[in-house]
């Protein structure tokens, strides 16, 4: 079971494609740490009773800006069923204490990185961001080797017109730094429709990407780096570039993934919280957690969200499969 929790919508970067760009005049929210701890404890106990592991993945905004993150992560990591993960822009990782904490308590960290310095820093509106990510990855990789820690280092690349040309080289660079897994997703148009048209991938781009992947996968694989690019996932990207909707009749809602937002709504994915989301204060026993999948399924049967007619869930299409 994977539980993704968007703990804050605060961010310190200005990414023109992101809904939480710091320049946007939107109300910002952060999760209630007591509720986060309680609900994760409950989900973890439910997983333990089923004999399954639970991966908790912190998302933002920038999760590092959420103050309770470290204390809470340290407590949760003690739970037998829980492994922790986070997606970050690299903020605060120049701090040795922070890296120490990640090595001690986290199973994986995903860094967002989109291209060489000029591209990445420009897209993210954060001068020096590329260098900070590089130092963080290199430092974590060497500290991990020294201490025999298990932390997995992953990079995620957003593919768009500005980043596609440097994609293969960036993968090689990431391998040099000590990254274990590389994932990617294509630019979506939901969050910032103004940014999208000029940067969206086109069918030709998708074809070139699919052509590049096999050799690149082998090359990286020989260096011990896994490029996650399953055929299903590439087909999903291709369909989007062609404007072909991929309707999902049954995504097994809530069976493998749960998503919680900063307002405390839990649902089968981040896209359908308005349709199927349940307030986390309704989760009071492990049985309530266990019944979520059936609840989502029923809610989806009663009223299928329009978004399911072109499911944007990268997890569903195997983003993390090789």
């Amino acid at each position: 079971m994977i539980l993704l929790w968007r703990i804050t919508t605060h961010c310190n970067f200005s990414c023109g494609f992101c809904a939480y760009d710091r320049r946007l005049p939107i109300a910002r929210h952060a999760a209630d740490p007591d509720e986060v701890e309680r609900v994760i404890g409950l989900v973890a106990d439910a997983a333990r009773m089923r004999g399954e592991p639970l991966l908790v993945s912190w998302l933002g905004g920038e999760p590092m800006l959420w103050r309770p993150l470290f204390g809470l992560s340290a407590r949760l990591a003690r739970h037998a069923a829980v492994a922790l993960s986070m997606t970050s822009n690299g903020t605060r990782m120049d701090n040795l204490e922070v890296r120490r904490h990640l090595l001690d308590h986290f199973a994986e960290v995903t860094f967002s990185l989109d291209g060489p310095a000029s591209v990445h820093d420009g897209l993210r509106g954060a001068p020096g961001a590329y260098d900070r990510v590089r130092s963080a990855i290199v430092a974590l990789a060497s500290e991990r080797a020294r201490e025999g820690a298990r932390l997995k280092l992953r990079a995620n690349i957003v593919l768009m017109q500005a980043t596609l040309p440097s994609f293969a080289d960036l993968c090689r660079t990431l391998a040099d730094w000590g990254i274990d897994d590389i994932t990617f997703n294509q630019l979506g148009g939901r969050d910032r429709p103004d940014f999208f048209p000029a940067q969206a991938l086109r069918p030709d781009d998708s074809r070139r990407l699919s052509d590049t992947i096999p050799a690149l996968k082998d090359e990286l694989g020989a260096r011990g780096v896994r490029l996650c690019a399953s055929p299903d996932y590439l087909a999903r990207i291709d369909a989007s570039t062609r404007g072909h909707p991929l309707a999902v009749h049954d995504c097994g809602p809530g069976e493998q993934f749960l998503f919680v937002d900063e307002l405390g709504r839990i649902g089968p994915c981040s896209f359908t919280l308005d349709d199927h989301g349940v307030a986390i204060d309704q989760l009071r026993t492990v049985a309530d957690v266990d019944s979520l999948a059936a609840r989502f399924r029923q809610s989806r049967q009663r009223h299928r969200a329009a978004v399911c007619d072109d499911c944007p869930s990268t997890q569903f299409f195997g983003k993390f499969a090789a």
């Binding site: 910002r28 309680r38 404890g41 009071r284 026993t285 492990v286 049985a287």
Partner: protein, 582 residues
Amino acid sequence: MSMTDEELVARWRADWPAALAHWSKYTRLHDPLLCVSSPDAAREGLQGSFAMIRLADKSVVIDLPQVRRFALEDYGVEVLAHEIGHHVLAPATPTDHLRLIARIRKELPTLEAHAPMVANLFTDLLINDRLQRQEGLRIGDIYRALAAVSGASSSRLWRFYMGIYESLWSLDRGSIGGETEDARLLGDAWLGARIVRVYARDWLVGASRFTALVLPYLVEDQNALGPADALFDTRDAALGGDAVGLSDMEEGEGGPSLHPSQDPRITGQDTEGADTNKPIEPSKGSGAGQRRETWEYGEILRAGGIDLTDEQIAALYYREQAIPHLVPFPTLRQPGATEPQMEGLEPWEFGDSFDEIDWLSTLAQSPHPIPGLTTVRRTYGEVAGEEVRTQPVDLDLYVDSSGSMPDPRRRISFLTLAGAIIALSALRTGAKVQVTLWSGKQQMMSTDGFSNQEDAILAILTGYFGGATAFPIHKLRDTYANRKEDARAVRIVQISDDGISTMFDADERGNSGWDVSAMALKAARGGGMMALNMVRDDLAWMTRAREQGWEIERVLTFEDLLDFARRFAKRHYQQASDRVAA
């Protein structure tokens, strides 16, 4: 020296967190209601046993005098952990409680009344086995204490049941009241123990197997469950809860049941190489998706402790059956949608997010910003967005409830279901609905005009007369005679059989039904439609009705009515919303 009531309450209160921790310390239930007198417990609904649970409000009630009677004062953690187990493991939710009862009823032909108790015995096995074996709690001692007070039971069923625990926990035969000699009882107890282990996760199937073992003992002696009375803590467990998904049977429920001695997963005598962990495939006709009859639905709800009237149960049933067929609620921009508009500035204070500081305005106030003093942030108000008007078409629905139609509270009535689909679809678009149920003269009931109250609409739809056939022409007449010209358009729908022809008879004032019908169609402005269960399509009155403007669809079976309802709702309500959306 025995404890005072206050001491006993304090002790059990202190035991509560430890009991919770045996499941998950993050569990949130109401603190237990510890009743110091049996009348107090009875006021909470607890009678006959020393504990009970209510799944709907996540509570546990304990009758402390009964606890004293069985000398269980020192077993607070065990008893409370057991009750919590009903909330956490089985049945856990009102819906699962009812699903369990439905399964067990199927295995107890003519003895269905015992299903709630059998359900209780089975879930107790699941919970107790876990607490005794994995959590190290002294559950076996509780049964010893009960036996010490009640004496050895002569019930063969009870000796078989206690034998299951003795088998599960490798206790000496008879040590907690199980059978010691009878080979059949001992063999059944062994099978029972295997069911608990093999079907611990798939416990609805396990419950069916367990019931197959229980049935012969109950046939021999219908009072065999007497000794379990003191333990019957899930008697009204679903009281106040929601029943969801019960109107259809589920997979495995309707097929022939398998005796545990025939189940290779239990006996371990599987064919070579077969995967014994795989659940047995449900046989053909296993029940999945079949509609349950309404009377059975009602009996299951009542057996689970849900205390509703026939009308309320019928409304729940038809609502649940109708929902999958409804036209999806259109995603329209509603009138009055708001957009944020900057209204001004206000001080930014410590504790506010740094991102909210409006630096331009802050620096305009003072070139040397002092956080919390000269820092400001923007405030936003809401202004109405671009308005999109919606103009739904109201629905005036007439449903025939004469003797040729089934009683929807006993049997599934496709008329009622078709009516529910059409009415609920209309409500979703913002339309108002008037429903009239009719049979013979003086046999008519109707909503109080056009309404958006789902309950009121379903209450009328699920009613029944079963009398003669005389369409209430006066209702049609009065609805439209005084309808204002600028009132919303209405679509008139008739669901009936050839009895609808009485609509064209003369009314009580001598007016021609044809004239009333023409007047109603004109005033309604949304058209009229009939779904009729009729073999012939060429009767003279049908031709004339078509000429007058009625669309007539013949439905030869009542199942066809369902298709009609879906098509109708889609055509008329979906199109209405599409038009508005365009």
